[in-house]
Symmetry: C2
Subunit: 408 residues, 2 copies
């Protein structure tokens, strides 16, 4: 199979329809961080009634049209508008009501005079300025009209968005259930966390990092027992993971080479099978993208830094399709603290750490072999050096694609 670019790899996958995540109907308060499965429309107008945006007096326009400091108009005060209630009686000519910010305009009132433009004498009030009455009220529906589309399908609910929905009378929303993603790790040298290492063994760190990244995307990670580097065991484990999940992420141990069964096992399990094997990117050469039925399979390299970078590059956009999300994460713009020089025949992804300086953000490339774990923990995101470019000089302003993570 010829190696393709990352862009072409994702485009090749896009040809195959995937089964969208199931939906559920939940309370809007519980929806923060979830993905809307349908457009959300306003149930009520905002504001739901015409209200005052100042403290003042609700008046009839014709009464105060000519009022000025030189010739004030005196109105009878017939009551106080109470917050949360509509005044039982409306105004009649020559009368007005005290109204607080947010209060509902009584019937027949045309607008509000600010308290600063009045002299309150208890039973009556002198109106010193009757212009701009309409500037001091927010008309029913001026902000949102019942039925307006407020959030599109495929957007992630934020605190601000669910506040807006709540104001517009939406109390239940349709969101996607988290797709189940099977995590299958192969490698005879791997031992679980907490277990004592025998000589030659290493801890199974990819399971931990990949499960967390999958969860942070809004999926549910289901981790399976380590698979021995053995074709029969791998076939059996993959069949179970495929049956029990909406997608499967596979990572080898650090062992690659002759015993890298991933594409073989996938292709034997169903069709259309392997769509992409190897991308023209570093890391990415051993990556696999596959579809069986309508479920995506993502095969990652075994070494931890490469596994996470390839997950971000190919796994993230593939899994987010199940939630109807096609947008890439917004990049940071940062100035390189050191030259990046790489070969020109592959697209390279370099982990960087971001710090601030007085003028903006600085991206420090974290070089080292892809086997260097400590790079993982320090990096905030990735700088992409396109194929054919090969170098960015110190001081270049680059885009940094953030790693997937929870909160903030």
């Amino acid at each position: 199979m010829r190696r393709v670019s990352v862009r072409d790899a994702l485009a090749a996958m896009a040809e195959f329809p995937l089964r969208m995540a199931a939906r559920e109907n939940i309370a809007v308060e519980a929806s923060d961080g979830r993905v809307f499965a349908a457009g959300v429309h306003a149930a009520e107008s905002v504001p739901p009634f015409t209200r005052s945006c100042v403290d003042g007096f609700a008046v009839i326009g014709a009464d105060v049209a000519r009022a000025s400091e030189a010739s004030p108009v005196t109105l009878r005060i017939v009551g106080d508008v109470v917050m949360g209630k509509l005044a039982p009686d409306g105004l009649v000519r020559g009368s007005c009501m005290r109204i607080p910010t947010g209060g509902a305009l009584p019937a027949k009132a045309d607008g509000v005079v600010m308290v600063e433009d009045t002299i309150d004498q208890g039973d009556v009030v002198e109106i010193l300025d009757g212009s701009d009455l309409d500037d001091h009220v927010t008309r029913e529906g001026a902000d949102v009209r019942a039925g307006d589309l407020l959030c599109e399908a495929g957007t992630i609910a934020s605190p601000a968005a669910i506040g807006m929905l709540a104001a517009a009378g939406v109390d239940r929303v349709e969101v996607y259930r988290a797709p189940r993603v099977g995590v299958l790790i192969t490698g005879d040298e791997l031992v679980p966390l907490g277990a004592k290492l025998a000589p030659g063994q290493i801890h199974d760190s990819n399971r931990v990092a990949l499960s967390a990244a999958i969860t942070a995307l809004g999926c549910e990670a289901h981790s399976y027992p380590r698979v021995a580097d053995d074709r029969t065991a791998f076939d059996a484990a993959f069949a179970v993971a495929l049956a029990e999940n909406d997608a499967v992420v596979i990572s080898g141990g650090s062992s690659v080479g002759e015993r890298d069964y991933t594409p073989v096992v996938i292709s034997a399990a169903g069709s259309p099978g392997v769509i992409v094997h190897g991308v023209r990117a570093k890391p990415g050469r051993p990556a696999v993208l596959a579809v069986i039925g309508d479920k995506p399979i993502i095969g990652l390299p075994g070494n931890p830094v490469s596994a996470l970078v390839v997950f971000e590059t190919l796994g993230r956009p593939t899994l987010l399709r199940l939630l109807g999300i096609s947008a890439d994460p917004l990049p940071w713009r940062a100035s390189l603290s050191a030259d990046i020089v790489v070969s020109t025949h592959l697209e390279h992804r370099i982990p960087v750490k971001i710090t601030r300086d007085g003028n903006g953000l600085v991206a420090t490339p974290l070089f080292g072999t892809s086997a260097h774990m400590h790079i993982l923990g320090l990096a905030d995101g990735l700088v992409v050096v396109p194929e054919g470019v090969g170098a960015f000089a110190v001081g270049t302003e680059v885009d940094v694609v953030p790693y997937t993570r929870r909160n903030r």
Copy 2:
């Protein structure tokens, strides 16, 4: 009380020590998104043994030092290194072992010859190049040494970081428990979501947005029943919220003015009391920052857009102190799609929506009064126009501070 700048308001708060969140010890797999309460050190070296980074032959250096294509050296193959196991016997002069990527070097081996530089004849192998032996192995501890500080206290665990910790043999970590934050909303006009609005009433959207933002920061939001605009009720509700939580966030209904009891109620409840009342920022004029004992209190304006913006500006950094976090969120850099013109005597925060174009990010200012709810749902973050500046022209590159949110 004189109004101070946002910077001075936070500096004034910083004078008062706050009670740090409690700690707990949890599995590293469960720590994604949590905040480390202590520096995390490597329990084991990475790699834990000297291993091969290629497929090849483990050899004794003195045997192959002079090997070349012109005069190959022939070695006896005494076995295969098995992944996850240390070879039971070491090498003797004139012998070698097949070794896969990631395999542990057998005793006495000095390094590895890549398979590409050998001719494997079954019982024996011809070595065509014996240089660079050390380039093909990763020495024990070359990546991380046992005891190294891997994550500092006050950093948020990411998928990558917990992968690194797992590799270094860390299986439990000390994290902060989520601080409890009481959410107290006042306003007689407010009705819960799902309830039918009577004329004059509005839905309690601040409770929903603020609770979600508090949760996204890594705190636990505890929402209390709506407080009537009545001093006695407010005193009683505040006393309960203060006793039951590590911090309290208060927001008025849309009613302000004479019945804004927030600073009075706080000051009556204990000392030192109100530290800041009103900041020289828009929004922010009615904001309150207070401390009672060692608990922070944050008083927000009632209108929803202002409440969330002031929460991000003053509430976020104050609550994050309880988790030992002092860093501001990394801003996006974006080009303004329209002029921003504001008054020069206050620092202004303008909500913006970010989109991409071919060259980078574009920030579209979302103008409108602070009562406009729909601005809430559309905005990705805030542009700060400093006091005395007053305007940014279309096309200016500005920093956009992201709103607090969960995931991605």
